[in-house]
């Protein structure tokens, strides 16, 4: 997996550095799955798990949704014009 990660980034033009960073940022938002599990397993009355879990899902969603949307916005500027 590490080798794959390195292989993939091998030949990136510098103009794509920022969108790539933004896309990778969105992908690590996959951590939201852990937050969903925490929230889903939390028993009523366990306020720590419920509140922190809720917060974690909100923040994770921000990472995922915000991440993919901002990356798309950066990339729509790269349409080739003829």
């Amino acid at each position: 997996m590490i080798f794959l990660g390195i292989e993939i980034i091998g030949r990136v033009p510098s103009v794509l550095h920022t969108p790539l960073m933004s896309g990778a940022n969105a992908i690590h938002g996959v951590v939201i799955i852990g937050a969903i599990i925490v929230m889903g397993k939390a028993e009523s009355g366990n306020y720590i798990a419920l509140i922190l879990g809720f917060l974690a899902v909100v923040l994770g969603t921000l990472n995922v949704v915000g991440g993919f949307v901002v990356t798309d916005r950066m990339l729509e500027m790269f349409k080739k014009k003829k």
Binding site: S14, L20, G29, G34, L52, V64, V70, M77
Partner: protein
């Protein structure tokens, strides 16, 4: 027979790998982003409805869905509304959110273990929690916290709310804090279960502190590199959560971003010709100001009038425009395109020279100019531009400074020494548009401005360009 959920995770993992690969190529980049988003969606929906722990599906659906809705609305609105110039700080912000998410997950998992065992007498945490499990939890907590705190500082620096702050012995200070974090983490593991939560929270607090002081001394121009590094940190934190739940999607996404993010950070450093160590030590700062002071007077600058500038460009055969941060701040990219078109109507060949770190992030200028419908083919990368300067009549520098500073080539004591620059001095005439003589992000003087072929055209980039356009009509 693999479960549907494990297939969902497999699909997600594949889309992450594929998406990231496609993001490294301009023609497939946009699709790559969408594919990865699709895989993420599948993994999330699959988890909500199909995840089982001890034979039980997940509950608290109202909480989960309202949290997702809130996050999605805020995330989409901020991502869509923000100005182009605020993109890097937004990426940092979202990165911080991911780091905080990872840390919170680990904190809750620690709490479960703590609550389950705190009534035991004379037992140590290490007796009841396997080392591997604890490692995943504490690593997720520490790395997530460092990434969160650091990202918030980076966000503050980029939107101008925070100054650079460094003090003597800071590196030692940072090292000490880091050591304390590790000590506290180990201490927590070996403490009595009854009070293990106290050293744990101390660990969290120290990790947050470290995140802050890690990013505080680093100069604003280096922020994109730091954000890329923090990005890979959050990836690792996500992988730790993946270990905790033995979740293939989190493991893949986390390790992939951790590795790719690290490599991207190194690539970004290479584009500036500075080592990562150099960036992290924050060599922009006290040193630069002292050197600038020593140089003293560099001579006199010449100013050029709008009329003369318009004339010299109208009668040129080739004009190369060097955009910089000043263009972005003035939001003058459309006026710039208008000028380009007006010059071309007069038979002037116009191209753009884009330095890899012009602006506040790699690709900043490309994105800005593309927004103004400037044709992709007119943008020259640095190596190609440097070939063309010797046949260029006029170079128009719009709010760029450090990327055209000859000190990078000539002055070994300069903080930007070694960074490849745009060789504008090879052209016949250089016109520099800036708001004032104040130094750029590196905080140093630029001897280019004092050279005989250079003249200064002061003013806000947008106003200056619009006025040049008016002058051109009468030439």
């Amino acid at each position: 027979m693999p479960s549907i959920l494990s297939i969902c995770y497999l699909v997600a993992s594949v889309t992450f790998i594929l998406g990231l690969k496609m993001l490294s190529n301009p023609t497939t980049a946009r699709r790559g982003n969408l594919i990865a988003a699709g895989g993420m969606f599948i993994a999330i929906i699959g988890t909500i409805f199909l995840y089982e722990s001890d034979g039980q599906r997940l509950g608290n659906y109202p909480w989960i869905f309202s949290a997702i809705i809130i996050g999605s609305v805020i995330g989409t609105l901020t991502a869509k509304k923000v100005k182009m110039t605020a993109m890097p700080e937004l990426v940092s912000f979202f990165n911080g959110m991911g780091g905080a998410c990872a840390a919170l997950i680990s904190i809750v998992e620690f709490d479960y273990l703590f609550q389950a065992n705190k009534t035991l007498n004379s037992t140590f945490f290490s007796d009841v929690v396997p080392a591997g499990h604890y490692l995943a939890i504490i690593a997720g907590t520490v790395i997530g916290s460092v990434s969160f705190a650091g990202s918030v500082i980076a966000w503050g620096k980029l939107n101008g709310k925070m100054r650079d702050f460094s003090f003597k012995g800071q590196h030692l200070f940072n090292l000490i804090i880091l050591t304390l974090v590790l000590v506290a983490a180990v201490f927590t593991y070996h403490s009595n279960v009854k009070g293990a939560n106290i050293p744990f929270f101390i660990t969290v607090a120290l990790a947050l502190l470290y995140g802050v002081f890690f990013v505080l001394p680093i100069g604003g121009a280096d922020m994109p590199v730091v954000i890329s590094l923090l990005n890979s940190f959050t990836g690792v934190a996500a992988a730790c959560a993946g270990f905790l739940y033995n979740n293939k999607a989190m493991l893949t996404g986390g390790i992939l971003v951790g590795a790719a993010g690290t490599l991207l950070t190194i690539l970004m450093c290479r584009a500036m010709n500075r080592s990562l160590k150099n960036v992290l030590i924050g060599s922009f700062g006290a040193g630069a100001k002292a050197i600038a002071g020593e140089k003293g007077e560099l001579g006199n600058i010449k100013e050029i009038s709008l009329t003369d500038a318009a004339m010299v460009m109208a009668y040129a055969k080739k004009v190369l425009i060097v955009p910089g941060y000043g263009l972005a701040v003035a939001q003058a990219q459309h006026a710039c395109h208008e000028l380009e078109k007006a010059l071309e109507e007069k038979g002037v060949e116009v191209k753009y020279a884009i330095h890899p770190v012009a602006g506040r992030m790699p690709g900043h200028m490309n994105v800005l100019l593309a927004e103004a419908d400037v044709s992709y083919e007119k943008l020259l990368e640095m190596e190609d531009a440097n070939e063309e300067f010797k046949t260029t009549d006029v170079v128009l520098i719009l709010g760029a400074n450090d990327v055209v500073n000859p000190a990078a080539k000539n002055d070994p004591s300069s903080p930007i020494y070694g960074m490849p620059i745009l060789e504008v001095e090879l052209a016949k005439t250089v016109i520099v548009n800036k708001r004032s003589m104040k130094p750029g992000y590196a905080g140093i003087e630029n001897e280019l401005f004092f050279q005989p072929k250079t003249s200064m055209l002061f003013g806000d980039a947008k106003k200056v360009l619009q006025n040049l356009l008016l002058e051109l009509k009468t030439v």
